[in-house]
Amino acid sequence: MSIGALELDLEVFTGPFDLLLTLVLREEVDLLELQLAEVVLAYLDHLEQRGELDLETATEFIVLIAALLELKSRLMLMGEEEQELDIEPEQAAEELLARMLDARRYRSAAAHLGELLARERGVRFREAPLPAKLRRTIVAPAEGSYDAQALGEAMGRLLLMPPQIDLRHVAVPRVAVSERLALLRGLLRRGAFSFEEAVRGADRMTVAVTLFALLELYKRGEADWQQGESFGEIAVHSPQAAMPAGAATLASAGGLAG
């Protein structure tokens, strides 16, 4: 099954996954209102029903959901932290558009190739070696018929060092979750702390991984947190510590969890 056919029954959308993608791209479904976690859960349900993991489909799903997450997080930044963005919005928009079009193009072209192949179903070709009598007549090339320059040129190509590949746009996992877990546990032992403290001066990647580590601690029951208002300070404390009424926990990390 292609991941596009995954049936979804979400709060804001019901239908196959690829239709959802189309509608998101056309902004007929507001990505900000879409709970991506629901999509992930639907996929997990689907996996459970099938009882097997199809790696191709899983990869496709992860790529698409990652693209949606990236898009959504960009939408959610809404002007804050502008200086920290590596790319200009115009450039980002163009890049995103180009990538969407490219992906769509070659997915469609692939489907077309599939049709061509299906059309040729049942057509086979003969693959027999030449009869011995004819094979014997194959003439060896004349002496000196190859040019040694070609070998030198090939060496030149092989000696060429590839230029450094620009990896700025790729999220390289330089930060280990375990590292950030250790840091957070260290801070917790000293009492409550703010998330800001934990990530002061860190790059975006580290911030993201730290948040991930925090979610992990929450899951294990080692930490809890409060956030008074959207984009406000996040106060982290161990669960035993007093927790004022009405404190939002997971929900305030809201958008980030999808």
């Binding site: 489909t57 995103l96 072209a109 190739l113 040729e120 086979r124 030449l130």
Partner: protein, 198 residues
Amino acid sequence: MSDAQGPDDAPRLARTIESLLFLSTDPLSTAELAEATQAGEGAVATALALLSERHAPGRSGIALRELGGGWTLASDPDSEDAARRLFSRPRVSTLTPAQAETLAIVAYLQPVSRPEITRIRGVSADSAVATLLDRGLIEEAGHSQFGAVVYRTTTQFLKLFGLRTLDELPDVARWDPTPEEQAELRDRLLKAGEARAS
């Protein structure tokens, strides 16, 4: 054999060409056939027309096809059930979506390197590329300026997909959204960006 002259020459040339097509694994162009038979290209074209009549569907179990830049003989699809019973090896098993996408990218952008394929697909194409190489659908075609191996499609690809030339592939832009839709999409993406910047 000399160039077609007598009334008997066209059928005879057709028989010779039928033989050559039977022997050759690769499609043969009109020029190659003309050179081998020492006939003119016009005479070869006439003989091919005769052959194509002789091998019209419903007349022969062997079909004459113009594929992969030349002419080749292929089995009649009607015999596929029997062929499957006789030969354990299936024809070409279908392509996985990853393989089909990788093949599409190579077909349209060739010569194209693996990193480029990966960039477009957003995921590694290594195993798909290996399978396509293995099946003879793509092949290496030297190196890019950055030293990466680049790939192109093969004659085998054209044969199996029933294409005479790569030009028969439809323009990839055919699947693009309309220019209006694209402009609108661009506008919206830009507005989202500007909203952030302001």
